[in-house]
Symmetry: C2
Subunit: 400 residues, 2 copies
Amino acid sequence: MTLSSHNLNLPELSAKDTLIGFDPRVSVEGVEEVRIDLGQARSYSILIGEGLLSRDEVWSDLPKARAALIVTNTTVGPLYEEKLRARLQSQYQQVWSLHLPDGEEHKTWESLNLIFDKLLGSGADRKTVLFALGGGVVGDLTGFAAATFMRGVPFVQVPTTLLAQVDSSVGGKTAINHPMGKNMVGAFYQPERVICDLSVLNTLPAPELSAGLAEVIKYGPIADPLFLDWLEQNMDLLMQKDPKALAVCVRRSCEIKAWVVGLDERESGLREILNFGHTFGHAIESGLGFGKWLHGQAVAAGMVMASELSVLLGGVEAPFVSRLKALLAKAHLPTVGPDLPPQTYLEHMRMDKKSVAGDIRFVLLSCVGKAHVRTAPEAEVISVLKQCTSAQALGYAVTP
Amino acid sequence: MTLSSHNLNLPELSAKDTLIGFDPRVSVEGVEEVRIDLGQARSYSILIGEGLLSRDEVWSDLPKARAALIVTNTTVGPLYEEKLRARLQSQYQQVWSLHLPDGEEHKTWESLNLIFDKLLGSGADRKTVLFALGGGVVGDLTGFAAATFMRGVPFVQVPTTLLAQVDSSVGGKTAINHPMGKNMVGAFYQPERVICDLSVLNTLPAPELSAGLAEVIKYGPIADPLFLDWLEQNMDLLMQKDPKALAVCVRRSCEIKAWVVGLDERESGLREILNFGHTFGHAIESGLGFGKWLHGQAVAAGMVMASELSVLLGGVEAPFVSRLKALLAKAHLPTVGPDLPPQTYLEHMRMDKKSVAGDIRFVLLSCVGKAHVRTAPEAEVISVLKQCTSAQALGYAVTP
């Protein structure tokens, strides 16, 4: 279950660097804790459980300050802001809030500046704590605002989508998009805590649940075959938002992410494997225009492409692709990408942050549970693109 | 000459933490080196000397990459870009350049985005090296762009103003201004190297030379009485741009800054003393509108205010203020601020990044060579403002 370090040119991992085993049980107390271990100053906990927005104990010992700002969006704010405010009002003299427009197309300078305007207009100082209440867009914007406001203030992630709970809120990657590429401007900046209340997933729309499951499914092929087996057996329960199944899936995803981030916080090697499906996926997102497909939808089609490319280049075997497609389909996720011209895909992939000197780097599978990063001949990439795209796929667009 | 740690609630400094003694001589080889010691990964050298833009040896061992971007402005670019390009073309396959508009009023999101547009439009990747060729505005913008482009790329400071050579290019503070306050959005992000070519100061306009001398003078009162004596004796030579005097003054300023930054990189205590004169100074800059006064001019008037406040509150003695004013006047710097209403000053000072919970924190002098940080009663601050401002001072404005 450990990663081959050979392909990544990393030193051999020691025993303590191996991923802890998968345990498909949930704790009796109902609050799971996963630690992100980054040394004394920057380690933190991910707390996972039902109804955490109403449980005082997970909100104690927050950073001390006079004021806090809740950053949320116009969809999530009306549902959960008051609950969060109730937890914070006993700890901060002032609790401000800001509702940003919802959607990936708003992960921009303009939204970021709304946060700075709000902070400065309210009289924030260097100790003011930011709370990101929302999905990946809110988390990335708020985290980047926290990283840069007065050169750094503390922040707490309160992710309200499955995707944010299993991936984007954990690990300290913050960013905004640039018209020429996704997440092109940002910072590595760790939150003080991540609080995943599973109950908020009850209001999550079905396409968003599916999008989150794409990032969950990702962890199997790159790191954990047993978790992949479990997902196949439990996908129906997850699609029905079964609380225990969700608890297992969020905790295991966070465990895998915590393990990778603990070994390579700033993506100088191992962490790149978390981008499985993302090289193709980002090209879909930028190629169509941000917000047309959900990030998770693009990653789903991207994982199929990356798997087909792995097969072509002598990695994982062909039956795995069928298996992956079946699992994605069960999660109501696309298994083909939109039929943009291959050159459009290539152009956008050359802009990917992993690219160096114009060479596109792909996260490919050696076998189920092992990923590596490499370049690929253009002919093979084009062949995969032709095979894995379809005019029909445009039907997945989330905006009319 | 060491700092009293008592006022700052810092642990007592050990012998190795004391500032090295002032030596008013320059090296025979003509290249002075000052080390910023921040541990293995982030330590770097400041190289100081005449004609460094023409000396290959200070440009060797730069970070490896396919491409480099020179960021400069419309004033400095025409004078020195070609010289820098000649040094870089042997090391990078592609050397791009970008000329930003000149002036503090352009230290904005808009200018920052011009850097990102240029990088992405040119096909930059995660290894692309940024070179900041210019004064404090170019250095702060380029450093912040380097801190955030693809979550961090390497950068080199090539400061072309005295202010940037002695202060802003050293220590890793990068930022842009917000309409509501100076340097409100930024990051701590260290350069790979700082290369101070003293010869470029030959083309520096007189008001810019004076502005740089304000930050030089700052180092005496907060840390080094002997350097203050030397400045009094050598101010005429400095105003004539005497090369040896400039070399001593740039090196000593960098030594003091390196010492402070090495002890407190992220301004959690000691580093605040470098803001002597800046609380009042930033209020002058924001109060008048960025770009009306040069930063150094505002700091000069601000140091007089901070000194008067120190006297009022029982710190440094009154004759020191006359001494400081005489030295500033010799450097053609203002010793009074513009007569904005005291409440305008107070409002802008409450927005200062050092302020916590609305309390303004001032860097004050206990005696010559010792600074501390404290709050002050509003009545005393207003009394100082009345004493140290004048309608006449508006005449220092650099724009018509």
